[in-house]
Symmetry: D2
Subunit: 349 residues, 4 copies
């Protein structure tokens, strides 16, 4: 690959924006070329505008870039967006109309019928929905979204089981990391020595996004999976990594070994050469007290979902614990992997 | 009351043993008269033997008491016990055989058919089982147990609903405090910036104890509640207070106001004058992000269970969050309230 | 005492404002009569306006009170104030000019020559400075301040030593709790698994306030203590309680027993009947690893300063650890104790 | 380099032992060839014997290695040791007598006159002390130690200043991470929402090791630096990374720019090609609230010490904050860098 795709970042100073920058440093295909944030930051250097919160240094080239206004003029043709839903709702269609591929981590359009909500390992074929977007014909631009941070870990653990056994009922209780709320996000007075049993709209997002992701593309639209689902979402004192207690009822009964095999053999992107795709997307950890966020969140550079504690459920069929890095696999890495898939399909410019 | 009941404590140096001492300081009916712990502590003063971990000072009278051998000789007739199950299995029957009322927080005999497992607000009538114990006739001694710390909060939230509507299915995921594991208990390397999705035998205990507690006394034995139940237990970075995400299926449908009324009107001990009984055993907190352990665990001096977030469940009927103080309502306070109930029934000496 | 002094609270919705309300509930002399906060809260009930963050329930009487505008009209004659320095600078003189006794936890006027900065056990005589305030003659109103939360623990530990031995050099490094920064205050992303080695203006406040508090009243002004001092302030993951590593050089050499005796015998308020004064203001804890914030902050209802680890210093004479509850002894309790002292002197109405 | 040096690890299952394994995976010069631990582990595979606590997976080759008895027979000629002082005192001389180069993280022999205590950037010349060891002549074996985890960050920050300006007085207060205490180490009940102002023998170690490290080699022995030093050591709720508030008195006065230049220009290992040496050993972070452990501990793969907050001290000359990764730079990485230096000097076989 001779030259890299120039990438623009909308919401560059936020927690996910910072992760985009971190993960794109030394990326073989992509290069950060344009940074936009709120009016307050516009015109400043990124180093001045952002309070860098990651544990690798802010790259100097990025620190000295000037933050641009959040307008399509001057922006590159590929945009990674992670902004508040209300802002996304207004801004992302403008960039798509101007011919950009908008790869969004925002929730604004995830459930819009002609906008694909995609995890490459799970439902790459849903990307065909971009052809249903009016902007696609007019300017070439389109929108693609990735799921909410708590949804991804669940869906990646479920997909191999759905393929082999079918899934009819899903129970999930989350224990989510503070980084999922951005910065400053969760007040320390709310989470030290504490649990907050509520995250606004999170349960609704998990429930509906899961069914769309596991749904089937039928011509011009996605038919959601016909399963029942219930999510309970909690915030706990963890920096990164969402832990989820999951119970499921399968259509076709499965024994333990079959479930472990389904996870172990799940690797739809194998051999496609996408740089951010982990060697194995779902990894089983055999120890009885794993996965744990501090120990397992960085597997596969934060792109691997770990599962453990598979055991029979007193109500449904099986229960287990799933864990994923919420700002990498669950946000910035999700957008980047979507972009890599689109690039490999010739849909980026 | 002229003189107080003298109380002996088995396992006096442990976390729950310390809570017994703290909660009995200035108790109107009971007085700590005897302390026993492992051989290592025997013969030392309590102040030397125990590493006091509570945030009120160790009472000086207690500090200077000598730790006795864990033998019935010299022990008072009422024993509060909180020791490892293996030790309890051997030791508690010896005290009962010697004529003691053994009120135990240990798990050893909770599921034994002729040993009552009791929460006074929930199933006081199960205390009749003590008459089924051979020691009762021989020496007057008997054993009564209180539930596991994670079980109590769940069962107290369920009982008012079971009475009015019946319960058929129960889903619970816990986020449990570190104090539940004793001292030193959970290593800080295991819980800082982390969740541990496993607590040994905890899920089994929660499931079977819940059904026994909600079961019915039929002559000489308890028939467990005929409900299906599934528990998933996690450890989180909270000092005190177990938080539980609960979903339930009711026999008879109920609307929100009926459920809130069931909780609000639940007060079976009202007017009985038990000193440790909270004014209201189950309190609804209306804020959307409550209950929270740091803010709600001390309600009713740690004896009140708080519930919140009642909302429809996508799989069963209703879901909600319950919270209880694990070393007070869930352990030491549970034993003490059992003792108060037995005293009021004339069963202590 | 027939009727209670009506108290007005400026900054009633903040963390310290909440502590005023909590600590004044059931206070024998004082009663909350008026609550003021920012314009945003004005006109709402307190229950609506405040996000209550304490672990005792918000009293219902307070919850239903209407938040007033922060103007002297309608306010009672005694005002407890805890607002940002910039707001205090403008607002507190207005209340004093209108005849109010303004007892402030704000930093705005602490170092003003004719405003007393007082800890009742340390420098009650500095209260004479109120007679130097112009408002005192015109309307009867005046201002009295209490120190910064990190200063109080240090000064209370030093005062008994200064009295007996003189103090020439002071080194202090703090490890301060998050509640000192208010709410939302410190972002959880900044403090979980972290230390923040900086608190804006804190070191300057500690250094200059300490010398004023330990200074001598010479007619119309305070001459600060002629000692050298250096403070280094850090934020750590503790909810309440500031821990301080202190080293000192004394004027007159002292042996260990003399220092312990100075602390043990320090009790200038003994017998004065001030309701909030702790039985003993400075308490030595003998264990080698104490004081600790979680275990010792609530001594004396949060009004006692605990000291421990006294040992020789390789550079100065002695070093030790001091601990105090930052929002009780270090803020709300400090204001209340000042008010009690003023009431006992007949200076409140 | 054709073949790698085979490395044996004494104390392989402990926290530092695990870090040795982690850091040696893919090391260009060294290869783990032998693992020893306590008798309890001997004969098991490492995967069975160790409770792996790091956030990278245990390498499979290591997991399947058999843990050997802690005897020189069968051990390679280069030993990395991190065991309790009492065990080290007995064991390390046995390996040296048997001809091994023992590179120890244990405290047992750090202050022994003929045992070098070395940080390669600070006092590489002290390695000549190995020639003073009897075993060196008899078998070729010798012992080299690296400092305590809290000492290294301090000394690396001080060395550049000592070289240019001289240091006469040192004040340091530490806020140390829990990983420094090993596993299980600090109980979570002791550190959640808490500070422990005591670490056994830590202050003594910091004080004496610092002066030896900064001392001068005079023929056959090290003359410690003639400076006065006082250390106060605290444990805080941080996983990795020791933060230190430091104040110093210099012999020759220095302005801010000169101090920053001393740090920036300090790089005695530059160009020597030691694989673990960081690009820059001491890095200044200019933000007013840095360094912070979560954000800065991993600089230079955990081998860089970060310094910040340089400002005048009210008592001595300057104060600043220093931070270092306690189990990498402060323990396992320290041993490895010592080994690399010895290898480059031809002292390993």
């Amino acid at each position: 690959m001779k030259t890299k795709y120039p990438i623009g970042i909308l919401g560059a100073t936020g927690m996910v924006g910072q992760r985009y920058i971190q993960l794109l440093e030394n990326h073989p295909w992509f290069e950060v070329a344009w940074l936009a944030a709120s009016d307050r930051s516009c015109g400043k250097t990124y180093g001045e505008a952002a309070k860098w919160r990651l544990d690798t240094p802010l790259p100097e080239r990025i620190a000295s870039m000037t933050v641009a206004a959040a307008e399509p003029e001057g922006a590159p043709k590929t945009i990674f967006a992670s902004v508040d839903a209300a802002i996304a709702r207004e801004m992302e269609p403008k960039f798509a109309a101007a011919g950009c591929a908008v790869l969004s981590n925002s929730s604004a359009f995830r459930m819009t019928p002609n906008v694909p909500l995609v995890i490459p390992e799970v439902n790459a074929e849903h990307l065909h929905l971009i052809e249903e977007q009016p902007s696609r014909k007019l300017s070439g631009g389109y929108m693609v979204t990735n799921p909410n941070c708590s949804t991804i870990g669940l869906v990646m653990a479920l997909k191999p089981l759905q393929e082999r056994f079918g899934i009819e009922q899903i129970f999930v209780t989350t224990m989510q990391a503070i980084s999922g709320a951005g910065y400053p996000g969760v007040a320390s007075m709310d989470i030290l020595d504490n649990v907050v049993p509520y995250i606004g709209n999170e349960e609704e997002k998990m429930e509906e996004e899961t069914l769309k992701l596991l749904g089937s593309l039928d011509g011009h639209a996605v038919t959601p999976l016909a399963a029942r689902i219930s999510a309970s979402c909690n915030r706990v004192a963890v920096v990164d990594g969402h832990t989820e207690s999951v119970s499921i009822k399968l259509t076709k009964s499965a024994i333990r070994e079959e479930i472990l095999a389904a996870w172990a053999e799940f690797n739809p992107l194998a051999g496609q050469g996408l740089p951010t795709a982990p060697e194995q997307p779902v990894v089983w950890v055999p120890q009885p007290d794993r996965p744990q966020p501090r120990l397992d969140r960085n597997r596969g550079n934060g792109m691997t979902v770990t599962v453990g504690r598979l055991r029979p459920c007193g109500l449904l069929d099986w229960k287990f614990t799933a864990l994923s890095h919420n700002t990498i696999r669950g946000a910035a890495g999700a957008t980047i992997l979507n972009a890599e898939l689109l690039a490999s399909l010739g849909k980026l410019s």
